[in-house]
Symmetry: C2
Subunit: 450 residues, 2 copies
């Protein structure tokens, strides 16, 4: 075990999926059922997270409604009925002052010019708090909203994502940081030798540029990436400032952590500048009994049909009805959607020898959810952090607002007392709070590009 260096800081993102990550969260008596489009409620959640000094808010995204069984679909909320994340975070930028704002956006179904501009705009609006969670999208339902019959093939998506990222970061550097002189006397608004045309001609994109917005406060918004496949890890090591990941246990997390840091170093990057944040889902009570009661009341709200359909969805839209519910998960081909999600599920089934029914229930409950006391959760965080399984966590909230309130009010004070977590924001930008340097422009003279 490597001893934690004194300078390491614990980082926490609030992964918000109102009314909660659990599929039946909206049925909880304290839930706000229309949370996905209720801006007053979201401002409350954002301010709670900011008072608790989370590094950032983090919103997932899909560009379609997965058309599973309608009988099931009508019983769930998950991302089918919520604000578009970049407009949501822009709205939250004027209702908050210090917390980071990370939105998910797809490289498979966007144009790099629009995406570069949207996130640069969000970084200006928030005065340096924007982050982009780069995803390659999930499924056929999304493809069919963009003129395609089926989802783009996995390796092809990643090739496109790498070029997309190259174009986006190039566009972010269009104007040098000191390009704008605003010299009212001479009439020179900006120095034209500090404006750069990209002239990108690649396999997937042809983009002349420049981007029509000044370089943003962070230079470049923070880039988050979550791929766990071989291709996904390579991309993360090459381009990600933050890696969002999920693991069945601490040993797997440590192996991933070592691997990503080594890959980053091999790519010529400082491993400390790739912040690894596994998922952490918690239900906290003042006593263990209280925590378990909360979990039991929540889980009782879930219709078993929904759990089964959710499992089939994450396995890539397979039909599980042909297999006995109390039998093992059959051998299934990897589909074209997120392979890391599929692999995690299959590994879990094998490792624990679960039936389909048990697997579905466990997935819905996120059976890695820690149901514990504040001390118990703090112990888990400290152990993973100090043994380098994590630089911090993407904290997932099974139901809102309660599990966020509990984390903020009960867990974070423990982390602060142990000296693990900040008691005030040290930085003004998200990069500063994450301990990341401000990247130099690719056009910066006499300096290495970042």
């Amino acid at each position: 075990m490597i001893a934690a260096r004194r300078s390491r800081q614990l980082h926490l993102n609030a992964f918000l999926k109102p009314p909660g990550e659990f599929l039946a969260a909206w049925r909880h008596p304290n839930a706000v059922p229309d949370a996905g489009v209720n801006i007053r409620h979201l401002i409350e959640l954002a301010r709670t997270a900011e008072r608790a000094h989370f590094d950032a808010l983090f919103f997932a995204d899909l560009v379609g409604v997965p058309f599973a069984d309608q009988e099931v679909l009508r019983r769930v909320s998950v991302v089918n009925d919520s604000f578009e994340p970049t407009t949501l975070l822009a709205a939250l930028s004027t209702a908050t002052t210090r917390i980071g704002l990370i939105a998910t956006a797809s490289t498979t179904y966007n144009e790099p010019y629009h995406l570069a501009r949207t996130f640069a705009s969000l970084d200006h609006l928030s005065r340096g708090r924007a982050g982009w969670n780069l995803v390659t999208s999930l499924n056929d339902a999304e493809a069919r909203n963009f003129g395609l019959a089926e989802h783009v093939e996995h390796e092809e998506r990643y090739r496109r994502a790498a070029e997309f990222h190259e174009v986006v970061t190039g566009l972010w550097d269009s104007f040098d940081d000191d390009a704008f002189r605003y010299d009212q006397t001479s009439g020179i608004y900006f120095d034209d030798d500090k404006l750069h045309r990209l002239d990108h001609r690649g396999r997937y994109f042809s983009v002349t540029g420049p981007l029509n917005i000044p370089r943003s406060p962070q230079g470049r918004p923070v880039v988050v990436q979550a791929g766990s496949s071989e291709t996904g890890r390579s991309l993360a090591a090459a381009v990600a400032d933050v890696v969002f990941t999920q693991h069945p246990d601490a040993a797997a997390a440590r192996a991933f952590y070592v691997d990503i840091k080594a890959r980053a170093a091999a790519a010529g990057r400082d491993p400390d500048h790739v912040v690894v944040l596994p998922a952490l889902s918690t239900i906290v009570g003042r006593t263990l009994t209280e925590a378990e009661d909360k979990a039991d009341r929540l889980y009782a709200l879930l219709d078993p049909r929904v759990a089964l359909a959710d499992l089939a969805y994450w396995l890539g839209g397979v039909d599980l009805s042909a297999y006995p519910l109390d039998g093992p998960l059959p051998q299934l081909p990897l589909s074209n959607q997120s392979r890391s999600a599929q692999r995690l599920i299959v590994e879990r089934a094998r490792a624990r020898n679960l039936t389909i029914r048990e697997l579905a229930r466990g997935l819905a409950r996120d059976d890695r959810t820690i149901v514990s006391t504040p001390e118990g959760v703090a112990d888990h965080i400290q152990e993973w952090f100090e043994t380098q399984a994590a630089d911090g966590f993407n904290v997932i909230f099974p139901y809102l607002p309660e599990t966020l309130d509990d984390f903020a009010n009960l867990v974070i004070p423990h982390l602060q007392r142990r000296g693990l977590f900040r008691t005030s924001y040290q930085g003004r930008t998200l990069r500063e709070n994450l301990g990341l340097p401000r990247p130099a422009s690719r056009y910066a003279r006499g300096r290495a590009g970042a």
Copy 2:
């Protein structure tokens, strides 16, 4: 002349292009030079417009930097360095409560699914205050950011725009207004027979849908359109809630007004539900001398090279250097960019027998700018409104914040005393304030679609 009906309401949009519409506005001593990316300043402007009860804020857009002569480009600000409009308006949605929020977005370089979602999201965020200014984009600099060598041909752009609009409005109707039950007891989140898949297969787009957001507070965000060509007018009469237009004089405005209302009626629409708003640019002083002094001080800030380059730009990127500055505008072919802008300029040159130099100076100054007293501006507004040259105006501000402050503090009180303009917001949504009905969903049973 048709007598004004009692029920007609004057409508005013604040067309904001910080630091001002005039090319040298940023050099004005009271200007905020970095206004394009200064959110605090923009919140101030938005709140001034809201206190004055403007119907809406209105932001133009380009998806590129027109690469004119660098010598010229570096002396101007115009849309090269500002927030992306939908994220900007999302940010302003939480800093305002009643004013409408209209953003420009291109049908030529966007995907309808993204655009439908972004504006539905903005309508939810603002609780019913969103508007989309549908444009087909302007020039080659934009095309080259999206993999094309040159701007899409004019008629082709409009065919695509019509289909794009059809897809967007269809997606906005994906969920019926009463689809979401949020019934915690039964576990039914929404009624699945109130969710509609679009299944659009057209010439330009193939979009399955549904859109992953509930139908928005206005049913559909307000659609603004500004085409003045034959094709542009047809599209406006068919689909626009608000028509933004520009005319050399009241007679031309009246002819356009009558034409658009007749076209709307012919298309089976209520002509009152197409709100015609010509541009109105003003510089106001308490006395005529004060107004003229303000204008002179502003115009003195403009470098003549910038004025000439701007003329060449609006004529579609022509090279005017081959022609004598003090000679007439030569016969030039219509380029592929906005034809109505080109026609307006050519008509102005012919009507007034202007030289190239005079035309350039007049265009930069917007020589239809009314330099007058508050009474003089109010007289103009009243005459155009009562003689049905206009249902109101898109008010353009030569330099900010001063011409907005002057309009709000000096002109609007006159309009209110004359009973022409509201003293408080009557409606909660932009549609209500514009006197427009809430459109029925295309899937509404037993009712005509809107």
